[in-house]
């Protein structure tokens, strides 16, 4: 006998409840059935869905709730797919294109090209030397290809993050209502374990598509660039805006001529964080078939190959240092040129 039988008997709902039909039985019930003990007041279970279900089968179990969510999602999946599939398809093209470009260009073109980018961004020979030593080290221990795959994914995802994140941040800075609406979403994206939003993505898209991990990385990494763009523009001195108004600037002129340039250090800090966070997602993305250093980390974890795990982890750290230093150097140049 279940604890809460008396509620349904007392309300005369026994007929509505019907007979117990489902076949599942927990270990606890099995043992209780033999001992024939009734539960004491001390052990009274909380009237949760599962416990009420024991007394009245018409009440759904908690797994009915999760199962219902799943079925609901599966029901709208097809129509959702019609909309989302074409919109996100370019992401797959970008990722495939970037991956094949980074892999087909021979190393003796790729490495100098990357170093040239570093020099243009930082104008610092010391940094170029540091980056060169890191990349050559990775190539020397045969991790060049994996590192390039990881870099390709990060370039594409960070670029799209900036492309989408900066306009969203600007829109947020101009409307308090929008800011109130978006901030909880940003909080959620940052705290929700990435695995949770990987599950619906696996249902929605074919697992062989690169956009699956692309979307996961972008959702996670887009947050800082939005936040810091919003913050940067809001922090622009009121007096400066007043002066711009006094000159009779239009809103558009104010945005591009005053607010964005003054907010640039903050926006660049956001870009730096976005790149770092997309790097942090590399290992998780490898669970849904992203190539790169994350695959090696996973192999290290799966087989307890300590060396493989440590070396590929070191590779990720080196990439992180490179990306961090280069974006910080670019940020420093923006700051000094602004003054």
């Amino acid at each position: 006998m279940a604890t809460y039988d008396f509620i349904f008997d007392g309300l005369g709902l026994r007929g509505w409840c019907g007979e117990k039909t489902n076949a599942t039985m927990s270990m606890e019930d099995l043992l209780k059935a033999r001992s024939g003990e009734t539960t004491s007041l001390w052990d009274t279970p909380f009237p949760s869905l599962d416990n009420l279900h024991d007394a009245c089968p018409a009440i759904a179990q908690t797994r009915g709730l999760t199962g219902g969510l799943e079925n609901g999602f599966l029901a709208v999946k097809d129509s959702l797919k019609v909309v989302l599939d074409p919109i996100t398809q370019p992401l797959s093209w970008f990722l495939n294109g970037a991956l094949s470009m980074f892999q087909t260009v021979p190393w003796w073109i790729m490495i100098p090209a990357l170093l040239a980018v570093v020099f243009v961004a930082s104008k610092s020979w010391r940094l170029v030397a540091l980056v060169a030593s890191f990349i050559l080290f990775l190539a020397f221990i045969d991790h060049y290809e994996h590192a390039m795959q990881t870099l390709a994914i990060i370039f594409v995802c960070s670029f799209i993050c900036v492309l989408l994140g900066v306009p969203i941040g600007i829109a947020m800075s101009r409307s308090d209502g929008l800011q109130r609406g978006i901030i909880p979403i940003l909080d959620m994206l940052q705290t929700l374990p990435p695995f949770v939003y990987l599950i619906p993505l696996i249902f929605l898209f074919s697992v062989t598509e690169p956009k699956l991990y692309g979307i996961a990385i972008i959702l996670y990494a887009i947050v800082p660039v939005i936040r810091l763009t919003n913050l940067g523009i809001r922090l622009v001195d009121k007096d400066v805006i007043e002066a711009a108004d006094a000159f009779g600037m239009t809103d558009r002129q104010k945005l591009y001529g005053v607010q964005v340039p003054l907010a640039l250090p903050n926006i660049m800090a956001g870009v730096n964080q976005t790149i770092m966070m997309s790097l942090a997602m590399v290992v998780i993305a490898s669970l849904v078939s992203a190539p790169g250093l994350g695959v090696l980390v996973l192999r290290g974890i799966r087989n307890l190959e300590l060396g493989v795990g440590l070396i590929s982890g070191l590779g990720i750290v080196l990439l992180a240092i490179i990306l961090d230093r280069v974006t910080k150097a670019a940020l420093a140049r923006v700051n000094t040129s602004g003054q």
Binding site: M27, V207, L298
Partner: protein, 320 residues
Amino acid sequence: MNKQSLYALALTGAMLPMAANADCGEVSIAEMDWVSGGINAGVMEFLLTQGYGCDVTIVPSSTTTSIASVAENNEPDVIAELWVNSAPAYNDLADQGRVVKASDAFSEGATEHWLVPSYLVEEHPELATAEGIMNNPELVGGRFHSCPDGWGCRFVNDSLSAAFDMEGNGLEVFHHGSGETMGAAMVAAYENREPHFTYWYGPTSELGSYDWVDVEIGPYDADVHACNQDPECAENGISGFPAAPVVNVVTTDFAEREPEAFDLISNVTFPNEAMASLMAWHSENQATIDEAVVRFLQTEQDVWSNWVTDEAMANLEGLF
């Protein structure tokens, strides 16, 4: 004897009077993080606790961590459902006499397959053999779904796909990032009636719930398969998959300390069919592993009643 095991011994001594059978002490069982592993450990836990009066601790674990833990600390006592191909360290430990195999976890061992869904083979019977698939790659979607990095089957599949020249025949070899996406891809393809060609293993719920056709690769050749398994060996050939050994393992110390419990574990071998259908039931009913264990105990009594002693059977009387 180290400090820890002395402590454990003292604790065991304190527990003894409380246990139903005075001669069974503490048992720790490593439970694998997949469904059949959970059922295996759950059934052992139930029979040992209720039938033999042991004090059982379940340790959530996985293949490599459990075997590493036994190698370093001689704990846990029992590893339920160890897939030997994924745990090469097991053979070393067995050679050193540190662990003993108690039983095979499945009557026919684990099975490995190349699979296509049955609806495809009904339309195109030639897809039932690997040769037929190589000649018609477009009928299976032009892609072979292969294992993630770090799985033992990755090497075998790489060798076989090279031997069949899959890429040359127009089949892209796609390496999944995890077993989860591989299984999800199978289920999604089957539900949508799409062409699909994949590696998978059994007993699993994917094999229990859906009808797949085992693609004929070729006869099993022990030497060729051994070479295919070894990433260093270059002379790859074509060989089917043998049944893979999956064992219930106990430490030698445990076998000596708890002979009765060891006897029980030596008998625990699930028929493949029963396990596959139980796992299919588990996923259809969204049941917990606990409930799947009860389901097995209730419906397959004639299987497990042969595992336990008469004395233990008497203790279990009245439960079913």
